[in-house]
């Protein structure tokens, strides 16, 4: 699947009150075509993971990060911090192209024996949607999965890095983003289980 199509599908699965942070020049351009309130676009130089952790700590909204594997590799120390934080509203989506999109040279991602295992052992819930994205009607399916998922979660999707022509440069409005995050009236889409097992007591306790 092409990265642009994957981004389009993933953005369509977000709820109205979700926060989305896009990192990387090409992903930002792809996502900006489907711009929505609550989107933040970062260039490649700034790590999205600590920023997302900061935002997730101060809000009850779901916070999604969308980035390529090149940024994931650079972010891995901060991802350990996210795993330890146990933020249930934080979701980290990695679009795996296997290359640096600016130069086309390969990343080491595909040489790592089990990147998903690394994330799982850190303490993340790990989903792989590569095969799911081959099915028709994926957006509906994905919405249903995400409506009952809790973080910290990492999602991996294998994509191809095709550049789409005619995409415009991203214009960032930081104050509008802050207004969206701090708007308590929007509510949250974080899944609340019917029975909270953490607070349940065993018979005889």
């Amino acid at each position: 699947m092409r990265r642009h199509t994957a981004v389009k599908t993933l953005v369509s699965c977000l709820a109205n009150n979700d926060v989305a942070i896009f990192s990387g020049k090409d992903i930002c351009k792809d996502a900006y075509k489907y711009d929505r309130p609550g989107n933040l676009y970062l260039n490649e130089e700034l790590s999205p993971a600590p920023l997302a952790l900061g935002v997730a700590n101060g809000t009850n909204k779901r916070v999604f990060v969308f980035c390529e594997d090149s940024i994931f590799l650079r972010d891995i120390s901060s991802l350990a911090q996210i795993a330890v934080s146990k933020c249930t509203n934080l979701f980290y989506v990695v679009l795996v192209t296997g290359i640096y999109s600016s130069t086309g040279t390969p990343t080491i991602f595909n040489e790592i024996s089990a990147p998903k295992g690394v994330m799982f052992n850190m303490g993340f819930l790990v989903h792989n949607y590569t095969n799911l994205f081959k099915l028709p009607g994926i957006a509906k399916e994905l919405k249903a999965i995400w409506s009952k998922a809790r973080g910290p979660m990492t999602v991996f999707v294998d994509v191809t890095a095709h550049k789409v022509k005619g995409l415009v440069e991203v214009k960032q409005d930081l104050s509008a983003f802050r207004e969206f995050v701090t708007d308590r009236t929007l509510g949250t889409s974080v899944y609340q289980p019917e029975y909270n097992l953490e607070n349940m007591t065993l018979f005889g306790d």
Binding site: L40, S47, P50, A52, G54, N57, Q81, L174, F177, R178
Partner: protein
């Protein structure tokens, strides 16, 4: 000499800084020792850049926040996006440092409440990060 406990109380209760992150060093160690969950929320950071980016994130979610770093870390930080965010940096300085008027700065002295209030006002007026410079041995 500034009592770390009083300084933190002023920062949290009077100036409303609630989120803290950072990397400890000998100069700022008393601050970390006197942090209390009753008045602030501390998020440990894996490295300096993560601390700076994280406090920028907490500001974006509506809270005033502060990063505690060493002077060497300031030169290594990528200021993209962070330069547009009014956050406080408490910076431990050594003998040599030169920011060449790049930031809003103030040096911590015994009259800390006056210095902090004035720096906080400048940070919020300009909408940019401010550096509170702390010399070795100031905190007890």
């Amino acid at each position: 000499m500034v009592k770390a406990k009083d300084f933190l109380y002023h920062l949290c209760e009077d100036l409303d800084y609630r989120f803290f992150s950072g990397i400890p060093c000998a100069t700022t160690a008393p601050l970390f020792k006197h942090m209390s969950a009753d008045i602030l929320h501390y998020i440990p950071a894996v490295h300096d850049q993560a601390a700076a980016t994280m406090v920028a994130g907490t500001w974006l979610s509506g809270f005033k926040s502060c990063a505690i770093l060493n002077v060497e870390a300031i030169n290594g930080i990528n200021w993209y996006l962070i330069k547009e965010v009014p956050i406080l940096f408490i910076v431990a300085i050594g003998e040599k440092y030169n920011f060449k008027n790049r930031f809003i700065t103030a040096t911590l002295s015994d009259s800390f409440s006056k210095v902090c209030t004035s720096l906080d006002t400048r940070i919020n007026t300009k909408g940019a990060p401010g550096l509170l410079l702390v010399k070795e041995g100031v905190f007890v």
